[in-house]
């Protein structure tokens, strides 16, 4: 089975939020509050237990280049965020119950019937994607439409996207597509277009790639995400070192006591 991925192209997103709605409809997720946020046209805030696709609305200074935010006064960018389905997933590594698994499509999937709500995955996610729900405390996030993929269908969000801002396909093919697209955008004057795919950090690349413009942080994407377990080696090393030193010291103390014993 090939490894599948999303490629979300912010330069094609029109902010219609069809992905958010399709995701909730397909997965039967509840609404999470009917409050006017005042945060541009975004009233759902961020990806969480009850929002697995989330469209960000970024109002900022003008961006250069053709198409996509011409305004000399302001620019308004939209991008649909989702679980990154990391190459090395922090949540999966942290899960003590085996609830979080990697599927045959390469996605990261939480089995809700196994999850005990311990919440280790929440702190282990470098993107703040996983969240426990308020009802029973179990953790939820994007399933990568595992059920749809098993049936040979694309994920609901990619299916409904009217402008093909969300593409779904084979990971390596999408990486190639993304490179071509970025070269094209550069040619058209959008020299700040870049691919978000942190391959050289410990997450080892993501299965939800993003084409963005400028600084990743504008889109709430960390420039250098790390899997917390990379600190384990260091932690074990220093523990081992400490233990060794302690043992050695104790041994030394006994030895010298023996030498000096009467």
């Amino acid at each position: 089975m090939s490894v599948t991925a999303f490629l979300t192209d912010a330069t094609l997103c029109i902010g219609c939020k069809a992905c958010e709605v399709a995701c909730k409809e397909w997965n039967g997720i509840d609404e999470d509050g009917l409050q006017f946020s005042g945060f541009s046209y975004d009233n759902t805030g961020s990806v969480g237990a009850s929002t697995w696709r989330h469209v960000k609305f970024v109002e900022q200074a003008p961006l250069p280049g053709l198409g996509g935010n011409s305004g000399e006064q302001v620019s308004w960018t939209f991008s649909s965020d989702v679980c990154k389905h990391c190459g090395e997933a922090g949540c999966l590594e942290a899960c003590p119950t085996g609830s979080i698994v990697r599927t045959e499509f390469g996605g990261v999937f939480i089995q809700p019937d196994v999850c005990n709500g311990c919440g280790y995955c929440v702190t282990a996610c470098p993107f703040g994607v996983v969240e426990r729900n308020s009802k029973d405390g179990r953790a939820f996030k994007c399933t990568f439409c595992y059920d749809r993929q098993k049936a040979g269908l694309e994920p609901a969000c990619a299916k409904v996207c009217p402008t093909e801002s969300i593409k779904f396909g084979e990971l390596e093919q999408l990486r190639q597509k993304a490179d071509e697209r970025i070269a094209e955008l550069h040619d058209r004057g959008m020299t700040d277009a870049n691919l978000y795919d942190p391959l050289d950090t410990s997450v080892a690349g993501v299965h939800a790639l993003f084409i963005i413009r400028g600084d990743a942080r504008t889109y709430n994407l960390p420039p250098a995400p790390e899997v917390p377990t990379i600190y384990l080696k260091k932690a074990w090393t220093s523990s081992a070192l400490a233990a060794g030193l302690l043992f050695g010291g104790t041994l030394l103390a006994f030895l010298s006591a023996g030498k000096n014993g009467r």
Binding site: L34, E59, G71
Partner: protein
């Protein structure tokens, strides 16, 4: 849609959404297409990705602006200045597509000597009758034109109405037309047009629209440079153009621009009228309007000679062009309505049709209702308590009814006005005293019934039922059919029941609820032969001798065989979507496509070929169904003087519904407010009209009365700001279909208002807190969204602030809020009787409204506004 109807012949979009992908430039104005037509917007994105320039002109920076190469903010209500300046730019910079304009438009036609332009009469065309407050349009006719028809003036009817005149042209016979192909005659349309727009300069755009001169010129260059033999540019609009006191003339201005640039009937060109929801195009084709019959046949009016079919047909048919077949279309319709009962002896049942006696438009009868002249009302697929202008008047009028039937999927505001409206909260109405008996019927949702939609691009798509409706929910078709059946059963012998007795009402039903079959209805709309019941294939099959029945001539061909429903077909064969659904007429995706070829029948260019003459096969062929007589060669001469029907037009006149076969830069008949667009300020505007002493469209009807007051004509100090209402992607119109759905409500949960940081500072508004907005009609509260996407504009040396307000909320459902339409006035554009929603005057203050104070305490009085 008389703007498009009079200019080109048909009241429908000239192109199809997928064809936008072929455009070299797209101007979106009067629409936030990305927000309200996100699915269709994919083809705009495709064009942009292929290098097309995307220009968005809008008071607000919207999600559409965010995708555009050029965004120009304009002061709401100044669209004709902007478009007029584009037209002038075309003249001044030699961008007229001369080889297209001379043969395919009326540029060369000469006008009467006694015609006077708004430039001559300071804002009036000749023929204004100040006493009757309307035009006598006779002087607008062409030189030498013969008036046809009977008593009333061309293009006008005493009793009102507008949609019936969609097509125009019935008022004159082209026999005597004079023209000057050199376009030099001072009274030819071309020269008149040039003079008419000579004062619509880039400087005027800067002063009045608030768009810097340089920015305007950049956009004008981008749009006009993308037109010509090798390139085409398209225009998309929606209700941001129609909902003005001069909306039809705004669309006319766009039509003039596109004709001058040669962009009609060609791939990547055209004017796309974006319809507000699923079957709005369908609801004018098979109308829910009072003044037209299916296929844009006019409803007969109560007037002299109106009881004779002969005079009716004479009045509305034309000797040349497709309207020469008027009697065929009409008699076939009567045979569909009344079957064998309609005979030649009884004028095919002509006198069973009711007559229009006055303004029976929504506002016309609603004001009658407010005055206690109406007893009962059916409301289906509509929620006027939220969705219609001057909500307070609309709701209070409902309380004057004896009975009210509302059919909807949920209990909408119109059904609950008697206990839940703000008027009840304020004590203006009380359930104890309201005598209206309200019947709320549960209706099926879209997926719970079969039937067709006719969308924005004239495309009929049949959808099958996905699930049975729950409980007692029934389709609208079920309701109307069974209501008709019961009425028919009660028809007596009286002559007033004759129409009911004669009506054919025998659709087969199925299932345990006796659901009528929508495909049987579609078959009747398509039409059949009376003799053997065989389905008709083509409009040409229609006869005027009663041997054919057809429910809507323009739809003929949608169901050409007993078992072939083309609206149900789903095998798209090409980029224009042939094989997927059926576009009227005759599955043409781009209409008037004869214009995509030169007069000699060859494409204007390889890049922009669509339909051309095949010399070997001796017929028109190409990438679309030719919208022309298939076997009339391009060199066939026109016989305008004595010929009949479409053959009189010869081989090179693409606008076959017009008696002269050309596109109309100038509309000699069919419109009530002038043959050319002229700029007038909105009925409420912050400044005076800088072009003419006449401030507003003289033919517009303000319906001014104590319960429908206005701010002073211009610069009313009580209402310093410009207000526009609009829609959001996340909610739908009056909310009946969305405000009960949590997955949509969480995306846009509350009514908010968009204001600039400068206005917020001026009025002390705080982001995320409440503001109260007032107009002469009422007040409401909304959350404040301060955004740099709203710009204060410099208009004639002073700052004008604009306030944005989406209108989806009401007092029922999961997400509730004040009704934005309470702020609007009931006003009527003269041709289609639509209200002005896009340019009003308001004031804004921080804080919530007092929910119990009477309206008069919050809004300056009517007397004051009259001062």
């Amino acid at each position: 849609m008389p703007g498009l109807g009079t200019s080109f012949g048909r009241g429908g979009a000239t192109t199809a959404q997928p064809d936008l992908a072929n455009a070299d430039a797209i101007l979106i104005m009067g629409s936030s297409m990305a927000e309200n037509h996100p699915v269709g917007f994919q083809w705009v994105m495709e064009a942009r990705e292929k290098g097309a320039k995307l220009i968005h002109v809008d008071p607000r920076f919207t999600r559409t602006s965010a995708m555009a190469d050029i965004w120009l903010p304009l002061r709401a209500g100044t669209d004709i200045i902007f478009l007029g300046a584009l037209i002038r730019y075309v003249f001044e910079n030699n961008r007229v597509f001369h080889d297209y304009v001379v043969p395919y438009t009326n540029a060369s036609t000469i006008l009467r000597e006694d015609f006077r332009d708004t430039e001559d009469l300071d804002g009036f065309f000749s023929g204004w009758d100040a006493e009757k407050q309307k035009y006598d349009p006779e002087t607008w006719l062409y030189q030498g034109a013969q008036k046809t028809g009977s008593s009333s003036s061309p293009g006008h009817s005493e009793a009102g109405g507008g949609h019936g005149k969609d097509r125009g042209g019935e008022a004159q016979d082209p026999a005597g037309f004079r023209s000057d192909a050199t376009l030099q005659h001072p009274r030819c349309v071309f020269q008149v047009l040039k003079r008419h727009f000579s004062r619509y300069t880039p400087e005027l755009v800067e002063q009045q629209c608030g768009i810097p001169r340089e920015a305007f010129l950049k956009a004008a260059e981008a749009f006009t440079a993308a037109s010509g033999p090798e390139k085409t540019a398209a225009i998309c609009y929606a209700v941001g153009w129609t909902q003005h006191s001069k909306g039809v003339q705004i669309i006319r201005a766009a039509a003039i621009l596109q004709l001058l640039l040669g962009n009609i009937g060609r791939p990547g060109g055209g004017i796309l009228a974006l319809r507000g929801h699923a079957s709005i195009q369908g609801s004018t084709d098979i109308p829910t309007l009072y003044d037209i019959l299916p296929g844009y046949l006019p409803m007969p009016f109560f007037e002299k000679d109106s009881q004779k079919l002969d005079s009716y047909v004479k009045k509305h048919s034309a000797r040349t062009g497709l309207w020469a077949g008027f009697d065929k279309y009409f008699i076939s319709l009567m045979r569909a309505y009344y079957g064998e009962s309609a005979t030649e002896e009884n004028d095919w049942g002509f006198n069973w049709l009711p007559r229009v006696t006055g303004d029976h438009s929504h506002f016309g009868y609603w004001l009658d209702m407010a005055d206690g002249k109406l007893e009962g009302l059916f409301v289906m697929g509509q929620n006027p308590a939220v969705g219609a202008a001057n909500g307070r008047l609309e709701r209070k009028a409902l309380a004057n009814l004896k009975w009210l039937v509302v059919r909807d999927m949920v209990e909408i505001e119109t059904a609950s006005f008697w206990y839940a409206s703000p008027e009840v909260e304020r004590g203006e109405l009380s359930p104890d005293t309201i005598g209206t008996e309200v019947f709320l019927f549960p209706a099926s949702g879209t997926a719970e019934k079969a039937g067709t939609f006719t969308n924005t691009q004239r495309l009929l798509q049949f959808r099958e039922k996905a699930v049975d409706p729950p409980g007692d929910n029934r389709s609208d078709l079920w309701f109307v059919y069974h209501l008709g059946r019961r009425l028919k059963a009660r028809a007596g012998a009286a002559s007033r029941d004759a129409a009911l007795r004669a009506l054919t009402w025998d659709y087969p039903t199925e299932g345990k609820h006796d659901e009528p079959s929508p495909s049987e209805v579609l078959k009747e709309i398509n039409g059949w032969s009376m003799a053997d019941g065989k389905q008709l294939h083509h409009i040409k099959d229609l006869k005027n001798d009663g041997s054919t029945a057809c429910g809507a001539w323009i739809y003929c061909g949608v169901h050409p065989e007993e078992d072939r429903n083309r609206a149900l077909e789903r095998n798209s064969k090409d980029a224009l979507g042939h094989g997927w659904g059926f576009a009227w007429p005759n599955d043409c995706r781009i209409i008037y496509n004869r214009a995509s070829a030169r007069p000699d029948g060859k494409p204007w260019s390889e890049r922009k070929k669509l339909v051309w003459w095949d010399d070997e096969k001796k017929q028109w062929t190409g990438l679309d169904t030719p919208d022309y007589e298939k076997e009339t060669p391009p060199h066939a001469p026109a016989h305008i003087e004595e010929g009949e029907g479409t053959s009189a037009l010869g081989g090179a006149r693409p606008f076959t519904l017009h008696p002269d076969g050309v596109g109309w830069l100038y509309v000699p008949s069919g419109l009530k407010d002038g043959p050319l667009p002229a700029h007038y300020e909105a009925l409420e505007a912050p400044v005076k009209n800088s072009l003419y002493s006449q401030n507003t469209n003289p033919a517009a009807d303000k319906k001014q009365r104590p319960d429908n007051p206005y701010a002073n004509a211009h610069g009313d100090p009580r209402f310093p700001y410009v207000l526009s209402t609009y829609r959001l992607t996340e909610q739908h119109t009056a909310g009946g279909m969305t405000r009960h759905l949590s997955h949509l409500n969480e995306l846009q949960p509350e009514l908010f208002t968009e204001v600039s940081p400068e206005l917020a500072a001026e009025r002390g508004l705080k982001h995320g807190e409440w503001a109260t907005i007032t107009t002469a009609r009422g007040a409401l509260e909304a959350k404040v969204l301060i955004t740099p996407r709203i710009l204060p504009l410099r208009i004639d040396g002073r700052t004008v602030h604009q306030v944005g307000l989406p209108y989806h909320w009401g007092y029922m459902g999961q997400a509730t809020g004040d009704v934005a339409n309470d702020l609007l006035a009931i006003s009527e554009e003269p041709n289609v009787r639509i209200m002005e929603t896009k340019a009003l005057l308001c004031d804004v203050h921080p804080g919530r409204r007092d929910r119990h104070a009477p309206v008069s305490e919050r809004v300056p009085s009517y007397e004051e506004s009259r001062a």
